[in-house]
């Protein structure tokens, strides 16, 4: 089976800012989880007031913290989300090829790639969109 992955632009497949959780650094963890639930996504992107990406937080980050944090869950929920976020996430730009982006997801074992343009977050490439596009290409 040959998949024409590079017939797609990242911008065609990425979620735009209205379609995934984008939160500020002092959003509390509970609110971040609520946002992730709202969009049915296991990731939230954290930006500053200029729209620059400060970090991301995923289901996996929270899962790993749950076994480390030694304080009440009610306390954990009140933490600023940035305390538990990954502050150097793997990102791509709009010009990244879909093959390259998919390989990054595979190698890094991640499902989401924030898309950056001019230092600002402009979208999120999520594995679902990629898989859906590639499968439909071959039908």
């Amino acid at each position: 089976m040959f998949i024409h992955s590079d017939k797609f632009q990242i911008t065609e497949l990425m979620l735009t800012l209205e379609d995934f959780p984008v939160i500020s650094e002092n959003t509390i963890l509970k609110e971040a989880l609520d946002e992730m639930d709202k969009f049915h996504l296991g990731v939230a992107c954290i930006i500053d007031f200029k729209g620059q990406l400060l970090g991301i937080i995923t289901d996996g980050d929270i899962r790993r913290k749950l076994s480390l944090v030694q304080k009440p869950l009610s306390f954990f929920f009140m933490d600023d989300v940035i305390l538990h976020a990954i502050d150097n996430p793997v990102t791509i730009i709009k010009e990244t090829s879909l093959t390259e982006a998919t390989n990054l997801m595979y190698k890094k074992k991640i499902w989401d790639l924030p898309v950056i343009e001019d230092n600002r977050l402009v979208g999120l490439l999520h594995m679902h969109s990629v898989a859906h596009a590639l499968i439909n290409t071959n039908q």
Binding site: N26, V69, Q70, K71, S74, F75, M78
Partner: protein
């Protein structure tokens, strides 16, 4: 607000001796009789406390309330009322050049309170009431926000965020003890670094912390013998301000008679607190900031 820098507060408008509260600043004191009992008594207490604070070298805010709305019994002294009480506080400001603080229990009282007082206080029982927090924020004054006895220190961030959302970012967070079952309080000293993580300075209310709430049927009891112990512990834990209600004759105090500190002990305790605060700063200077991180 980011958590890495503590807000510095300035309490005082006009011609009063301004009080600064914040990280690495000298310890500040908030004190006075729980309730304004009479004009003469309020003035007498302001004079006595002022003299002691001058000797100790601690800057202070005069605290007294015009309406005690959370008394256990309807028969208990309620206060002189807003108008008379605020007039007395205003005159004390003028006479002694000391900033004043009073609480308010009704949002409608907030504008008048803020008009006179340099600082407005949100009672612990009302610390999460949105209407009260909005009214406090709208005064534009520094807000003394007491942690409810039923609140965790980390949940106080919700009240802080409410106040910030109403446009005020001048907050002093206070701990006055936490309910331990019925009619009893405990003091959790970890609340100070936790509440400081909001980015605001913290205060320890030593006299309410030794209260036994409504333990005597229709009034509260207290174990004031523990005040010095808790003061030393709290200052050692890095509080930025100390709050104590003080009376020249606690047995005759019209409010919180079982918890107010007899003024004869005030100088001794304040001196210890100031020394403890300076020692703590020297310890941090010598050994560095506390840097034991969680996993």
């Amino acid at each position: 607000m980011l958590n890495n820098k503590m807000k510095k507060l300035e309490i005082g408008y006009g011609k009063v001796n301004k009080v600064h509260i914040g990280e690495n600043l000298p310890l500040a004191f908030l004190g006075g009789p729980c309730a304004i009992e009479s004009r003469d008594h309020a003035f007498k207490m302001a004079e006595l406390i002022g003299e002691i604070c001058l000797k100790v070298g601690i800057s202070w805010v005069y605290k007294s309330c015009y309406d005690k709305d959370c008394r256990s019994s309807p028969e208990s002294f309620h206060g002189l009322g807003k108008d008379d009480g605020l007039t007395i506080l205003s005159d004390i400001r003028t006479e002694f050049k000391v900033p004043v603080v009073s609480d308010f229990s009704d949002a409608a009282w907030a504008p008048a309170t803020g008009e006179v007082c340099d600082m407005v206080q949100v009672p612990a029982y009302l610390c999460r009431q949105t209407s009260i927090l909005r009214a406090a924020a709208d005064t534009g004054r520094v807000i003394h926000l007491k942690k409810g006895q039923f609140m965790s220190p980390w949940n106080m961030k919700n009240s802080v965020r409410k106040i910030e959302s109403f446009g005020n970012n001048q907050i002093l967070l206070a701990d006055r003890g936490t309910f331990m079952g019925y009619n009893s309080l405990v003091n959790d000293m970890t609340s100070f670094p936790i509440m400081q993580k909001t980015g605001y300075p913290v205060c320890f209310d030593a006299t309410h912390s030794i209260q036994l709430p409504t333990s005597m049927g229709n009034i509260s009891g207290g174990q004031r013998e523990f005040i010095p112990f808790l003061v030393r512990a709290a200052v050692g834990c890095g509080i930025n301000a100390l709050f104590m209600e003080v009376h020249d004759n606690p047995k005759k105090a019209l409010s919180d008679a079982n918890t107010v500190l007899d003024i004869k002990y005030l100088k001794n305790i304040l001196e210890q607190a100031v020394l403890m605060h300076q020692t703590r700063l020297e310890i941090l200077d010598k050994y560095g900031e506390d840097n034991v991180h969680p996993q």
